[in-house]
Symmetry: C2
Subunit: 201 residues, 2 copies
């Protein structure tokens, strides 16, 4: 017990964070103690604010502070195409897609992917709500942007089977070689997919 | 602006922490958002508590919640030897020494080390307070445990010159090969010091 109780408590809380081991937690702790107390309190206030104000968007299940997330809200004001829905597993996927600046429609967060082994079926995901949106809103295209792994592919195939009969264009993100990558280092599955999906230039 | 304002604010605060880049900050953020809000609030409360209650120990300048740090307090109650003072640069050095379980005296934190290049002289450190302790308390030994680098050595030599004339045993941590290390990978200075300080077995 060489350290004050409140220091030990904070250290324990920091060590719980993902990717933060005992050494990193100690480094952060001493950094905070060396800084102004107001700095530490600003971090604490930001944590409290997020924990109190952030919930799921009523429409797309992205994180939101108001009823609608910033993206659904800008679709309401006509700044984004409300006719294209990009379906993702998690809110963090939206951030990744937004960074590309290639998609200007709206999103729908499933909250996971179908994984029978983990007991996650379509009922555990926001699938019903997606189908309700497709019935209510005028949607022209659904982009299935679940991860290119077993669970994500399964989910995409499952959703495509439900959505295509509605007469809505259903697309899937392309798989292939990462841009800037080396052909010799690509795994067989990715390279095989790239050959399969080759296109004329 | 694909994310709510409070999320962006927390992300910015997390990115300021040492060793936390944008990716780690995002990972922590989504982990917090996936957890119970009460978990996030507990972290926030721990931060506030530390920022409000932790200050320097009146005697040794370790971090403390009360007037005295836990170590000085246990010296008061006779659970640690008050006759040995270990002088360190930073409070975190106390944690490292305590982990060894080899020292059972009390500490004195200088708050840095002499470094003319950074404009840090003895006046910027808690040297005067150390000398006052040596005058007031019955001290038999001072262990100089500043870092084994230029600044730490300079500080140790400076302090030894002040303390030795007071008739107090003044010692310095040994330098040599790290236990469990490989001789061939030791740097010349460390290996040289190990040869210089060789002892009969």
């Amino acid at each position: 017990m060489s350290q004050a109780a409140s220091i030990q408590k904070l250290l324990a809380e920091l060590e719980r964070l993902p990717g933060i081991g005992p050494k990193s937690a100690q480094r952060i702790l001493y950094w905070l103690l060396n800084n102004e107390p107001s700095d530490t309190q600003r971090l604490a206030a930001a944590l409290v604010e997020v924990s109190e104000t952030v919930h799921f968007c009523e429409r797309c299940f992205n994180y939101a502070e108001d009823e609608l997330c910033p993206l659904c809200a800008s679709a309401e004001t006509g700044h984004r195409k409300a006719t294209q829905i990009c379906v993702v597993s998690e809110p963090r996927d939206i951030v990744a897609i937004e960074r590309t600046n290639e998609f200007h429609g709206v999103y729908h967060v499933l909250g996971g992917a179908i994984s029978p082994i983990d007991g996650i079926g379509p009922e555990e995901l926001n699938v019903r709500q997606l189908l309700e949106r497709l019935a209510d809103e005028t949607i022209e295209e659904v982009v299935l942007a679940t991860n290119p792994n077993v669970e994500g592919e399964t989910t995409a195939v499952y959703l495509a089977r439900l959505i295509k009969p509605l007469g809505i264009t259903t697309t899937r993100l392309a798989s292939g070689l990462p841009v800037g990558g080396d052909l010799e280092f690509a795994d067989e599955v990715t390279l095989g997919r790239a050959i399969e999906s080759r296109h004329e230039i």
